[in-house]
């Protein structure tokens, strides 16, 4: 070996001696393997869920076939029990035994990578991973995304709400019914959301706007002005092709929900004084009976968790929960709340099952869902009210910083508060807030200050979490709010103070910060 080679050899080894020790590598590897395993478990869970959905659909079909030809059809006559845990909803059905049905070849090409959402007589309805195609029976429509979807109990029809791509999660769209046998589609009209009656007889469209056919909810600012719009329900009789319209009142409507027996229809109205739930009787004919909210069922605004429907799985395999305005990441294994995702493209959403709508469970069991842990608690239908005493002092928080969805909402004990858009479009917000106390004068919580550094892009960046203690003080009256609102937020970083500049704050200084609420509520 020449002197020069010996020099290189010696230098290379000196360089290597300066390599990092890798003392924490085992923790890094451990963490990554854990995440891989989560993906694996959720995949299994999703497949099991889809299988359960298919079983329920088939059982429903059989029940329909065995039902009398006239009179009301009890679709969910099959005795079904449901149990829930923090990470799973498991259903066992003791209905009519399955029987072999004649097999018919699918009439449409089946896209690869799709998820089965319904199947009957060999016909298969599929969605692709971006929710755009349901076999060829539901052709993709340009610049729109399937935001909500339901399959009739006979699995012959699919009701689809398509929204523009840039507001796929909430806002106005067009509802149509697709016949899976013929591929024909029938437009029902615009809506912010819809609900399919449990027997598949009716579809209720919820519209917020100037009239039942002029939907504006979600397409303009969902702030004070939009909250003054009128809202309507239009119930379409799918068999007869008729519809009836009911004026709900002032406010943005959402959370459309049929009762399990299909005789009542619940919806929330978010007006300038907050969100309130209303219940309506839905008869088969005649006029709708408005707002029968009473002792039979009361859905308080603070029972908002009931409106959550865990139904989405992100590509990193977190279970997502949405109430129409938020998409929240929940670790399906631990229930840990990873905050609200607003920067992810909506087209990343995969997998859904309306069967996991905990409100619409076709059973005699309902659940309350804890927002922070996703733990579920069964509630007997004999319970006359889900009564929660409202907190009298609230905080006006920004619920989303999306340019199309930004909105303020007075809340008590919010688990998430959006903070600001900072330099280079970094997003910051507070997540997993756990309130140690909340009284009319002050409130304190622990949680995380989360940063999406938007590097290399907001969609692919890894969120950074910094433990914080948050204190709210200075309750004051607020124009437009019947309740006092906290106006000062003090933030203490418990460990590391993030070094990230934002528009209105430089967080490189002391460990404590004081901010005036509410925060900026729109990102460019």
């Amino acid at each position: 070996m020449s002197d020069f080679e010996e020099r290189i050899r010696r230098a290379v080894r000196d360089i290597a001696d300066n390599a990092p020790s890798g003392g924490h590598l085992h923790d890094v590897i451990d963490d990554r393997l854990q995440r891989h395993a989560h993906r694996r478990r959720l995949t299994i869970w999703t497949l099991s869920s889809i299988a359960a959905l298919v079983v329920v659909a088939v059982a429903t079909l059989i029940a329909l076939q065995q039902a009398p030809s006239s009179g009301r059809v009890s679709v969910f006559a099959a005795k079904t029990t449901t149990t829930a845990s923090s990470s799973h909803v498991t259903r066992t059905t003791a209905g009519p035994s399955l029987r072999t049905t004649p097999t018919v070849r699918p009439t449409a090409a089946i896209p690869s990578g799709g998820s089965v959402i319904g199947r009957t007589d060999g016909r298969v309805a599929l969605v692709d991973s971006h929710w755009n195609d349901v076999a060829t029976l539901l052709p993709a429509a340009g610049r729109t995304t399937v935001g909500e979807l339901a399959v009739t109990p006979d699995t012959q029809h699919v009701i689809v709400l398509r929204r523009p791509n840039n507001q796929a999660l909430a806002g106005c769209g067009d509802v149509a019914v697709y016949d899976l046998r013929s591929g024909a589609s029938t437009a029902l009209g615009p809506a912010v959301s819809f609900a399919l009656s449990p027997d598949g007889h009716d579809v209720a469209l919820v519209v917020s706007g100037n009239a039942a056919d002029r939907c504006v909810g979600g397409t303009t600012d969902q702030t004070q002005s939009a909250a003054r719009e009128q809202s309507f329900i239009t119930v379409h009789d799918l068999a007869a092709g008729t519809n009836r319209t009911l004026t709900l009142g002032t406010g943005l409507a959402g959370g459309a929900t049929y009762s399990p027996d299909g005789t009542a229809f619940a919806v929330t109205l978010c007006a300038t004084d907050g969100c309130h739930a209303h219940l309506f009787a839905v008869g088969r004919a005649g006029t709708l009976t408005a707002d029968v909210t009473g002792p039979s069922l009361v859905i308080q605004p603070t029972s908002r968790p009931l409106l959550y429907a865990p139904r989405l799985a992100w590509d990193d395999q977190y279970l997502l929960v949405t109430d129409g305005s938020e998409v929240r990441g929940i670790d399906p294994a631990t229930g840990a709340d990873d905050g609200v995702f607003v920067t992810q493209p909506a087209t990343d959403i995969v997998t859904v099952a309306s069967s996991f709508d905990l409100v619409n469970e076709p059973t005699s069991t309902a659940f309350t869902v804890d927002e922070s842990t996703l733990s579920t608690t069964p509630v007997s239908t004999n319970t006359t009210a889900f009564t929660v005493t409202p907190d009298h002092t609230q905080v006006l928080v920004c619920q989303s910083m999306s340019s199309s969805l930004h909105q303020y909402m007075p809340q008590s004990r919010p688990t998430t508060i959006f903070d600001d858009c900072g330099a280079a479009h970094a997003y910051t917000w507070f997540t997993a807030l756990h309130w140690d106390h909340w009284d009319p004068q002050s409130a304190t919580a622990t949680g995380y200050f989360t940063i999406n550094p938007c590097t290399p892009s907001c969609a692919t960046a890894t969120n950074l979490n910094y433990p914080v203690t948050v204190a709210l003080t200075n309750a004051a009256s607020h124009v437009g709010s019947p309740q006092p609102l906290f106006s000062t937020m003090r933030i203490r970083f418990n460990n590391t103070t993030p070094n990230i500049p934002t528009n209105d704050l430089t967080r490189t200084g002391p460990r404590d910060f004081v901010q005036t609420l509410p925060h900026t509520c729109r990102c460019p």
């Binding site: 890798g22 923790d27 393997l33 854990q34």
Partner: protein, 186 residues
């Protein structure tokens, strides 16, 4: 503390995977303990970036684990070595990493006299200026004294290619490190 054993136990229990038997636990723990330092040294020589080197090695072991469980890893040292090289190559395909390295080497050149910089740094910068293939070949040959045959196996190339890559790498290094002597020679 037995880092490797603890790590694997943690992996198995928390990841919900099949619980490995004692021999498996010790086995992968041993693999980790025996190979991770060597892998880090190689990754650091090739990248000059501590964070990236650790990232690469973590990726290697995470990807290796399922293969190892299925019995698909006969020679752990060779597997890890090749995986590190492949992942470094992948990383260098990304513009940001390449640019970072270029800036690093440009800065070295801009420093000019390299005052206060020892031979290790000078060689490292010169090494980073080599094309990736030559850099990897030189590093493997001189870091662990791999034979040309072993280097060829680690890189999945022929022995002849290894010889030419090393020779060209050394020639280029000599040009960078001993420019006056090159000039004198010519």
């Amino acid at each position: 503390m037995d880092v490797g054993t603890g790590m694997l136990e943690s992996m198995e229990a928390r990841a919900g995977m099949r619980v490995a038997g004692p021999s498996e636990v010790v086995g992968f723990g041993e693999v980790f303990r025996s190979e991770h330092a060597r892998a880090l040294r190689l990754a650091y020589v090739l990248t000059a970036d501590s964070v990236l080197a650790e990232e690469v090695v973590a990726d290697v072991f995470v990807a290796m684990y399922p293969h190892w469980k299925r019995g698909g890893v006969d020679d752990a040292a060779a597997y890890v070595r090749r995986a590190v090289v492949n992942r470094v190559n992948s990383a260098f395909r990304r513009l940001a990493v390449r640019r970072n390295t270029e800036l690093w080497t440009q800065r070295a050149s801009a420093d000019g006299a390299d005052v206060g910089i020892d031979d290790r740094d000078v060689v490292h910068r010169a090494l980073l200026a080599l094309p990736v293939g030559q850099r990897v070949a030189v590093a493997l040959r001189y870091l662990d004294d791999l034979s040309e045959a072993d280097t060829a196996e680690a890189l999945g190339i022929s022995v002849g290619t290894v010889k030419s890559q090393v020779a060209r790498g050394l020639m280029r290094l000599r040009e960078l490190l001993e420019p006056d002597e090159e000039g004198d020679a010519s």
